[in-house]
Point group: C2
């Protein structure tokens, strides 16, 4: 593709690319997981991006809310048809896993832009049936859903209830006389709220509701509920459904609301792989109620991958722009330098490139562990689940926060132009930040991690053996830091020592509150700001360690390893300088150490500067996926900004309608 060819770029970028000190393709393969996967990805991208059906007539931002929805629905339907009608395509994309990952991938984002009304059908509805339905249920529903004969979504969150699952109010009451469940929304806060595609698109939903049978509540269970008539698409009697209106971002999806008024569904529509309600109303408990942990780990690690991909896009745009943009003076009288020459600009961008790799190595590690132990889980070996759960919570929160902040830094690093929709940075920001809230709000995630840390700390006090990721908690009385050793190993050890002391302090604070008479939960709340900091420090340590391990283990040529080691080093130092108090107070590092590291960081920024553009090139993001006037491969920034502006519908006429209607009467009023 043109977007990846050398030589077709502006002089500034040509010169940057000539300076590259490493093998770009090696890093691309590393991120994709191998050369085969890179080539495969490029092939699929080329096929889909060549299809003119995926082009927008104008940018969605110019359209009305409803036009935006229609335009995305058109493209989403085309994507599925293209996939269903073409066996080669199915083989290429790779069956089930394929269309799902296509929907959520960078390519999917490029095709359907800002939220896709059919995404949750593949990403949540089908997996819910597969994960929670019996074999018969899978057979019946999957065959209908797979072809698109029915379209579904997943409805859990309610207007008044988010993260706290037990608080959900929607009820499913079994009536053994008719062998039906009665789905009901008893209050306004019970209204289902948020599910993608729910407003206008889907005719079915997996609805999470409090199960009542034989007069007793058994907690939240999944039910397949028909929302709209299969012939007319009209909402069913007893069902009130609609869309929830505009949002900060993802406005091309019809996120919806849903209310039930004593709405009856057949007994067979409860998904019964785990729990069951027999026809007479008897409730049968699941064999193992920890199994749902697995899905959460899966979803949260997927969010980490998505987070670093968003950050890749943002930092690619900002870095290329910073090599093309010239501004101010470094030395009076000399021409305006590329803004990438400024240390402050390097400090904004290069740590983001490092963060991409940090998240990648840490998330890969959890992903691999998850896949290794999944076998064990089904065999009933649940020992790893608490650790995996804590790690996935911590990395979900860390990666969504870091990516959001990083995207924002990138946007601001592009000055005013970063505020323009055609830079694509606004859309990347509004999409990335949503992950802070969904699938487990980050503060809740941090407190889950903290709970695991405190529990592990007490286990260690009792002499129990700890799991690998928290084993440092057993060695908190570690020997003092050996001055002058600031190697990567020593810095990772410093991270461990800092968290270890913090966790120990947190445990002491908790004990203090309890000994003064507070119940545990109140004591916990009184320490929770500090507990969140412990959890953040733990996730950071873990990411640092996996970054160092990952670089050491990767098969790379010497030049490529050198540049990756520099990024790793930058990551370690960057976060020490930001959280220096933790290192000083724990005795992990001295003020002198930190001064040395600050100076080293300045040197690393300068050393990485010549490779900056090549580093983002190696992310190998197609121009159509970047979708940015500032970030395209050729660096033709100003002409693109101008050309994009000319496309505005308002620029198709010289004098706007509003002039005749409003402005002229005002301007001529006094003449």
């Amino acid at each position: 593709m043109a977007a990846r060819k050398e030589g077709e770029c502006c002089e500034d970028l040509r010169r940057e690319r000539a300076k590259c000190s490493f093998n770009k393709e090696e890093l691309t393969y590393l991120m994709d997981g191998g050369k085969d996967k890179t080539l495969h990805r490029r092939k699929i991208e080329d096929i889909f991006l060549a299809d003119p059906e995926f082009l927008d007539p104008i940018r969605p931002e110019y359209m009305s809310h409803e036009e935006r929805y229609n335009n995305e629905l058109r493209k989403a339907c085309h994507m599925i048809r293209k996939f269903n009608e073409n066996e080669d395509m199915q083989q290429l994309v790779g069956e089930m896993e394929g269309i799902r990952s296509l929907m959520g991938s960078g390519l999917g984002v490029a095709l359907t832009k800002d939220g896709n009304p059919l995404a949750l059908h593949f990403v949540m509805f089908l997996p819910a049936i597969l994960g929670q339905g019996t074999v018969e249920q899978q057979g019946y529903w999957m065959s209908r859903a797979w072809t698109g004969e029915i379209i579904g979504t997943y409805a859990q969150t309610e207007l008044g209830h988010g993260t706290f699952l037990r608080g959900l109010e929607t009820t499913a009451t079994y009536d053994s006389n008719t062998q039906e469940f009665i789905i009901h929304s008893p209050t306004i806060t019970a209204t289902k709220w948020w599910p993608g595609g729910l407003g206008k698109t889907v005719n079915y939903a997996v609805v999470m509701a409090q199960l009542y049978t034989q007069g007793k509540c058994h907690g939240v269970h999944p039910f397949i509920v028909q929302i709209r008539d299969e012939e007319t698409h009209q909402s069913m009697p007893g069902v009130t459904v609609g869309e929830i209106g505009p949002r900060l971002g993802m406005n091309t999806n019809d996120n919806g609301f849903l209310r039930f008024n004593q709405y009856r569904i057949p007994h067979t529509n409860m998904l019964m792989k785990h729990s069951q309600v027999l026809k007479d109303g008897t409730y049968v408990k699941p064999a193992n109620d920890k199994l749902s942990y697995g899905t959460m780990v899966f979803v949260r690690v997927a969010i980490c991958f998505d987070a670093y991909r968003q950050l890749q896009r943002a930092v690619t745009i900002a870095t290329r722009y910073s090599a093309v943009r010239h501004q101010s003076e470094l030395v009076p009288g000399e021409p305006e330098p590329q803004i990438l020459e400024y240390q402050t600009q390097q400090y904004k961008l290069l740590p983001q490139i490092a963060t991409v790799y940090g998240i990648m190595f840490a998330a890969n590690d959890v992903w691999n562990t998850y896949n290794e132990v999944t076998g064990n889980i089904s065999e009933g070996n649940l020992a790893y689940l608490p650790e995996l759960h804590a790690l996935s919570c911590g990395l979900k929160a860390l990666s969504s926060t870091d990516a959001t902040n990083g995207v924002d830094v990138c946007r601001l690093a592009c000055g005013g132009h970063g505020y323009l929709a055609t830079s694509n940075l606004p859309r990347i920001y509004t999409t990335t930040t949503a992950a802070i809230t969904y699938e487990g709000e980050n503060t809740v995630m941090w407190l889950q991690v903290a709970r695991y840390l405190i529990k592990s700390y007490h286990d260690a006090q009792k002499g129990h053996r700890l799991q690998q990721s928290v084993s440092y908690l057993t060695t908190q009385s570690a020997s003092a830091h050996a001055t002058a050793d600031l190697s990567n190993t020593a810095l990772v050890a410093a991270y461990k020592q800092a968290v270890s002391v913090m966790v120990s302090n947190a445990a002491a604070h908790l004990q203090d509150h309890i000994s003064k008479g507070a119940v545990f939960e109140k004591a916990w709340n009184s320490c929770s700001v500090y507990l969140v900091k412990c959890a953040q420090a733990h996730a950071r340590y873990y990411t640092c360690e996996k970054f160092v391990d990952g670089v050491n283990r990767a098969e790379l040529s010497e030049g490529t390893r050198t540049v990756l080691l520099r990024l790793c080093r930058l990551y370690l130092i960057y976060h020490i300088t930001i959280n220096q108090g933790d290192f000083l107070r724990s005795g992990a590092l001295t003020g002198g150490d930190i001064s040395s590291l600050e100076k080293e960081m300045a040197d690393i920024l300068a050393a990485l500067r010549p490779d900056a553009v090549s580093l983002v090139d190696s992310f190998d993001i197609h121009d159509r996926v970047l979708d940015s006037s500032l970030g395209s491969w050729d660096g033709n920034v100003y002409q693109r900004l101008y050309n994009e502006a000319l496309k505005s519908p308002m620029n198709q006429t010289d004098v706007p309608q509003g002039y005749y209607k409003y402005l002229r009467p005002l301007m001529k009023a006094n003449l």
Copy 2:
């Protein structure tokens, strides 16, 4: 107004308001600048908000780009007509200053929502003529502009040139034969880009261009340039003008681009209050070229005021919502608590309330000093200008960053609902963050502050007397911190000591680079990340000091002073804990001190908790100005969210058009 009356609210908020420990009105008066001003503001708000012409038919987010523009133009024109046609109104709003401040005020934002095509006419065009035109020019242009007979904007920034004024490329070449200036855009990067109202609305603009006369360039000067025909509103021959397209926010304004092709304007259109070009082409220099500093100070302090008003809105919304929202468990078995009970939530919101006051006191201080010395400036006493300039740069950067981050924290503190447009938090965020970039990009601002700090440091070394805000730089070898004194005075002293040591370190780093052979500018760049940190620490110290002074000086009853002192204390401690490394490394505080402060902070959060809702009530923001389903006075959150969703145009029909066009063919394809 109903929005301010007691008693008409939900039970949660009623209970919160009953707990109030202070006099709300006192704080309202303090922020408005006196009781008279509060009453006056309320009166104007009541009049304008009662006018149905300012209502939107539907939320702007549902409209197309052009519909949004037309809708805002309608309201903006109505606002001016209402003002021009009504003498009582003119007296009430208060002449010139009135309509300007109305346009930019909270009320203005409530009326015209998300950027106003006529705002720059009042906020930039008229002031530019007043500030830079001769008496004759003022007479001619003001009379035409004041009535709306002509509408203007201010065009400085170019596609390729922002903060660095000397880099502007647009030229104004004087032709003494015809006594005209030839305005020209020599390159694509010379295209004027960004001015509000420029795209479709204005027919005139003050254009900043490089002045050439008698073969010599004299730098950037202002020219009044006609953009569109006064009769037809068509763009003039030689002028290419249009709008720049959608943005992250402020999408109801027609920000525009502008290019000139050898476009001639009369000699009289150069604004000549300061510099002049005589008819024969002779250039006459301004008597004093520092005078433009004054306008910049004015604009940047105005941004501080705007920043804290935006933060007020966001924290009002998030705090009220946090008192209404119930979630999870604090103690198992008990009902779900208000989320405001969680320490982590208090830690998100209460520092934002403190920040509002911190910015207010610091900005007021600079504002007052500015007004005091403006007299001196016109008398030629420029001694205070460098200090005022540095302070206004620092506070502009600090307040826009703090407000943006604070607004984002507030949005995220509302979970998913904060992502909804009807929460109004998205719009508050996208508006607030723009101030990080405009009127002096923040990194550039910080480096200006750093330049002043380093210069002052060297002045001190030479034994010169320093200005008040940097006088602490003379006392860097201050006696070590007296343990156990953690009074406000001691903490402000600690702030000073920390910055002092940092500035001294920065100076040493600079010297180090220079003695190794670097020219000053390169040395400066090599230290600039650290220099930015010095500047940030200085602005923070200054804000802390003015916060403490401001609370001490305000005339308040005891209860009100107590709550304000708590906020002040929270502010001092909060920023110490975030930047603890600076305090530890400078010896300003010990690890033990910081531990004590951390514990105290937990106590302050708990102490402020019962007053949280009353504190945001005292900001006295009308429901229509808040414009939020989550933040309204009555706390009827869920019903409002639901009702707002029902208004979506897509919810006016059950089955969407897109179903017949795209979805049905897909769903029925295999049947």
